[in-house]
């Protein structure tokens, strides 16, 4: 048996009523309330990273609910995929683009009423379908675990093979689509757009998180060109847009001591061959 349900296995009554709940049912309700609360905070908080972390609580609460229903395999997969990978990916994306400490005034979208309508409608549809499908089904928590790995596997590959394979094809399509999109973006990045937010300045607490040098190569070459002695030739050889992020990163280097050296070290560590070739060209032009 699992850890969480170990102290909670109370003998289920013969007749199922709502007035004499068992320990597991009470625990299920409480965890459900916590999960629901965390979900509400996730969508209402104005701090972006806090929202992602509350999402961890929400998804973890769902995993505990699966455990209480003896679906151990599903519970661990939930933790593995959602908490371990999806949220990490989310946090990675946030840190790479925009993760200010404190409130984000622009966290609320103008579409929130439409979003709320869609969310409530889909939740209602899901609840209706699930309640209608499992109206009088009760899980015997004392017998052999109905959601063990063996039972889940047998059911998945005997009764539900076709949906399973269809989902696999869907995932494959998503995978191929992601590769196609990233290749297209690579071809277009020959003339990168100006990062307008970098000019207007990032959040004061995380100084350089918006014009981060890992993703864009222009600020890196720009810094090199301006810090070098023959700066005019270096900036001239790059496209006209490059000068703006270059100045932005030098000003941030002025406000935070040591930032310039960090960008330099970063470019040396993570520079792609293309960047190296570009800077070599600049050296030649100079």
């Amino acid at each position: 048996m699992s850890l969480a349900s170990l102290p909670l296995t109370v003998a289920a009554p013969e007749t199922h009523g709502f007035l004499s709940p068992t320990g597991v049912e009470i625990a299920f309700l409480l965890v459900g309330l916590v999960t629901f609360g965390a979900a509400l905070i996730t969508v209402t908080t104005r701090q972006l990273v806090h929202a992602a972390l509350w999402l961890v609580v929400t998804l973890g609460g769902l995993a505990v609910e699966y455990l209480l229903l003896t679906a151990e395999f599903i519970a661990w997969v939930q933790v593995l995929i959602y908490v371990g990978s999806v949220v990490v990916l989310l946090l990675f994306g946030l840190m790479l683009t925009k993760a200010p400490i404190g409130r984000s005034p622009d966290a609320d979208s103008g579409n929130r009423w439409a979003a709320l309508t869609v969310a409530v409608a889909s939740a209602a549809a899901l609840v209706w379908v699930v309640v209608d499908a499992f109206r009088t089904t009760w899980i015997d928590l004392d017998g052999p675990a109905a959601g063990s790995t063996e039972a889940t596997g047998a059911s998945l590959f005997q009764n539900w093979v076709l949906p399973f394979e269809a989902l696999s094809v869907l995932l494959l399509a998503a995978l191929v689509g992601a590769i196609v999109l990233s290749r297209k973006a690579k071809a277009e990045s020959a003339s990168p757009p100006v990062n307008s937010r970098a000019v207007s300045g990032g959040s004061p607490s995380v100084p350089d998180s918006r014009n981060h040098p890992i993703r864009r190569k222009e600020p890196v070459t720009g810094t090199r060109a301006t810090t070098g002695s023959g700066s005019t030739t270096g900036t001239g050889s790059t496209p006209g847009t490059a000068s703006t992020p270059g100045t932005a990163s030098t000003t941030s280097a002025g406000t935070a001591p040591g930032a310039g050296s960090a960008t330099g070290a970063e470019s040396a560590a993570g520079a792609k061959p293309a960047t190296a070739a570009e800077s070599a060209e600049q050296e030649g032009a100079r």
Binding site: S2, L3, L6, V49, H50, L53, V56, E72, F73, W76, V77, V79, L80, V83, G84, S85, V87, V88, L89, L91, F92, M95, L96, A99, I101, G102, A145, S148, T149, P204, S205, V206, P207, D208, S209, I214, A256, A259, A262, A265, E266, A269, G270, K272
Partner: protein, 322 residues
């Protein structure tokens, strides 16, 4: 009552292991690294060959002031060490060191998935620390941690799945029960990939770009002091124990030894774990740090294809011998 006592005793034993074994590995690392580099290492604390060096370090850490930077997100900054450390305690519960019910903290039906899932949660601690410190070096460290985890989680899962296929079960004691000696050559590629990916997930050298001291000070842990910093270090060494224990259980046959598993099975498990821990230390002294792009390339172009090939091999052999 007896059951409650049994559970309490198991939890206590696991907790003691969790507190002592990382210190033993840490002390071994001090001495082994020193001797490999022609030094003596700690010699004074405690008298005999400096055995109490890490205890003294612990006292020192506990005395230091616990500083939270002014610009930091206080609650998340303070919560992060616990999030980094606790998962390893939970994983230790599920690792069996001997045959039978008595030698494992808690038998878990889907043990392989449990340990990998919970280990993945520990990385959230580093991410939280990196973001909440309000320091750009910390943020860079957090970014590198996330990128590294995303790259190495996949080969780890795939190779663990290969062993589970071979054994026909996802329970950790079940996998060791099904182990035969010829699994060693059969799963050797998977074992190496698992171990390397685990090292990368722990951010141990040569995969320690997230804490590369010459580039970004100490990555996500730059702003931490005192006890919270010590907790992060403890998490790293507990991670070594967990990784070596898991590799032993999944790929090296756990308590199986050349002279049978009667009575002394747990000695074999501990011995194999200790040898692997020595290898981890050895690698730290031997190899220079990889660059960030080399790290990603190693994972996506080498480890993932190798683990897929291992799965294919496992499947073919499994079908042939049935």
């Amino acid at each position: 009552m007896n059951d409650a006592l049994d559970v309490a005793l198991r939890l206590l034993i696991v907790f003691v292991v969790f507190l002592t074994f990382p210190l033993i590995v840490g002390q071994t690392e001090h001495k082994v690294m020193a001797h490999m580099q022609g030094r003596l290492g700690p010699m004074y604390a405690g008298g005999f060959h400096g055995w109490a060096q890490l205890v003294a370090d612990g006292v020192k850490f506990a005395q230091k002031e616990d500083v939270v930077p002014a610009g930091a997100d206080r609650r998340i900054f303070q919560l992060a060490p616990a999030v980094a450390l606790l998962p390893y305690l939970l994983v230790l519960l599920a690792i069996p060191i001997g045959p039978g019910e008595g030698a494992v903290g808690e038998v878990i039906d889907a043990g392989v998935f449990f340990v990998l899932a919970v280990m993945g949660v520990g990385v959230l601690g580093s991410l939280m620390a990196g973001w909440a410190s309000a320091n750009k070096f910390s943020l860079l460290g957090g970014l590198r941690t996330a990128a590294q985890l995303l790259a190495y989680e996949l080969p780890m899962l795939l190779t663990a799945a290969s062993v589970a296929m071979a054994a026909g079960t996802v329970s950790l004691p079940g996998i060791v029960d099904a182990f035969e000696w010829w699994w060693l050559p059969w799963q050797i590629v998977g074992a190496i990939v698992f171990f390397v990916a685990g090292l990368a997930e722990l951010q141990r050298p040569p995969f320690d770009m997230p804490v590369a001291d010459s580039e970004i000070i100490f990555g996500a842990y730059t702003e931490y002091t005192g006890l919270r910093f010590a907790l992060f270090l403890l998490a790293e060494y507990a991670g070594i124990i967990v990784l070596c224990g898991l590799t032993t259980v999944l790929f090296l046959g756990g308590w199986h030894g050349p002279w049978g598993a009667d009575g002394l099975g747990w000695v074999w498990t501990l011995l194999k774990t200790a040898v692997l821990a020595f290898v981890v230390i050895w690698l730290r002294v031997t190899y220079p740090r990889l660059r960030e792009d080399q790290l990603q390339k190693l994972s996506w172009t080498l480890l993932v294809p190798l683990s897929l090939a291992q799965i294919a091999l496992t499947g073919i052999v499994k079908v042939v011998i049935q």
